[in-house]
Amino acid sequence: MTTLRIPTPLRSYTGGKSEVIVAGAKISEALADLTTQYPAIKPHLFNESGDLRPFVNLFIGESNIKDLQGVDTPITEGDKVMLIPSIAGGSEY
């Protein structure tokens, strides 16, 4: 089991939860579990062809999975996985 940190902009799709416990031995499996638990978040993470959207960044500890093995990056018990959103807000749009 891994704890996945959900950033504020995506919490409306996880019932307001800031952390979701997910199962899986690698990132792709953890994300599959996340989207099974919270289907509404899926279009925000994956494009129509099922690939992770380019502006979605996932970090295991301090490292971007893009610098590791992408969605095939293995995760182990106790890893902290963070979703990092692209946010633009400053003052007012």
Binding site: S18, F55, I87, G89, G90
Partner: protein, 384 residues
């Protein structure tokens, strides 16, 4: 080159001069340095105030807006007495009061591909205090092309991000975010709200990084991203690497000059109307009033968040927040006439897009949202 400090300046900056990391030489360095602050809003306010107080010799302010009373919850460089004034003039006056020794350049214009290189080229460092994706990508690319550090921060509700994107020594913004989210996926602060003190916390971190970079001290956030959450009071750091495929700073970069950033992001960057679903869909508050008088059974769909109903509401409206429209559209009858509204018309425009792609046709978008309704029809309702 200004070589020394006057007696008044030595007294003014004495708390800096006492620290060996700054000292007299450091303070002279700050006096001879310059910073361009893009945006004088939530982030730009604390950044500009602290850079001015620190004695950065020349500060440029870029903004094209005027001060509004709804800004003052967080944009502390402005004040009640400057509501209605140009933000760059309001900001300049406040900074000059704080520190008359420094030079303030003002640019009362949107920061665009046409003027950005000209404006930014004469500054040592660029501070990204913008509030939209097109201007963020523009700010990044300008910094990369000019070889200048870009002190980045971004905020949303309770979350903040800070980094120093300096392509000469580390990754740029595009290395992390090669492209922006599609329009509509991330709500703006105008819709999602922002804790007023959040840009204060995050902007002062930005100012700290700018001063460190200008002085060449400490470890700036180059190759690191700080993630702050005010509710959890958590600070997390992640490592950022240069993306070898980066289109502006990578070895095979194919973007060599500024592009059309609004087209790239698919959204308007400056004061464009995102509150219309298209003229065919729009209905004015007056027309909605007439329609309601004629047909009291007309369905009103309010796509704001439930807590916004406590601020103002239209009686009899059904509430389905925008984020739930796709899942809950079965609660709506597509055969009946419906008027969709939100705070100012942009979320309802998006709701109409969602519903129309599901086959709904008999819909109208309340132009200007409940705020326009409050201004033009029901003055008992507050504006927010």
């Amino acid at each position: 080159m200004i070589e020394e400090l006057s007696h008044e300046q030595i007294l003014r900056y004495s708390r800096h001069l006492l620290m060996p990391e700054v000292g007299l030489q450091g303070q002279i360095k700050l006096k001879n340095s310059s910073a361009l602050v893009i945006g004088t809003g939530g982030l730009g306010s604390p950044v500009a105030l602290y850079l001015a107080a620190a004695g950065i010799g020349r500060i440029g302010l870029v903004d094209y807006d005027v001060v509004d009373s709804s800004n003052l919850q967080r944009q502390v460089i402005h004040g009640t007495s400057t509501v209605g004034k140009l933000k760059v003039e309001s900001g300049r006056d406040r900074l000059q009061d704080l520190n008359p020794d420094i030079q303030i350049d003002i640019f009362n214009e949107p920061y665009t591909s046409e003027n950005a290189l000209r404006i930014a080229k004469d500054y040592d460092i660029i501070i990204d205090g913008t509030d939209n994706f097109p201007t963020r990508y523009l700010t990044n690319d300008v910094a990369v092309f000019l070889g200048k550090p870009n002190v980045y921060a971004s905020i949303y509700r309770f979350d903040g991000q800070v980094s120093v994107f300096y392509a000469k020594e580390g990754p740029c913004y595009r290395c992390l975010f090669p492209e922006p989210p599609p329009p509509g996926l991330v709500p703006s602060c105008a819709e999602g709200g922002v804790l007023g003190v959040l840009p204060g916390t995050v902007g002062t971190l930005q100012a700290t990084e700018a001063i460190k970079v200008l002085l060449g001290i400490g470890s700036p956030l180059i190759g690191k991203l700080l993630l702050y959450n005010a509710l959890d009071m958590s600070f997390d750091f992640v490592k950022l690497k240069k993306n070898p495929k980066c289109r502006v700073c990578g070895p095979d970069a194919d973007i060599k000059e500024l592009i059309d950033y609004e087209a790239f992001c698919g959204v308007p960057g400056h004061h464009a109307d995102d509150t219309s679903a298209g003229a065919d869909w729009d209905i004015t508050p007056q027309d909605m009033k007439t329609r309601l008088e004629r047909d009291p059974g007309l369905i009103l769909l309010d796509v704001r968040e439930p807590h916004e109903l406590e601020i103002s509401a239209i009686e009899g409206a059904k509430n389905i927040p925008l984020g739930e429209v796709a899942q809950r559209m079965s609660e709506l009858d597509s055969a009946k006439e419906m008027i969709v509204f939100c705070k100012r018309g942009s979320r309802s425009a998006r709701a109409i897009e969602i519903l129309s792609s599901a086959g709904f046709k008999k819909m109208k978008n309340l132009k200007g949202g409940i705020n326009a309704w409050a201004e033009e029809v029901d003055r008992r309702l507050p504006l927010y």
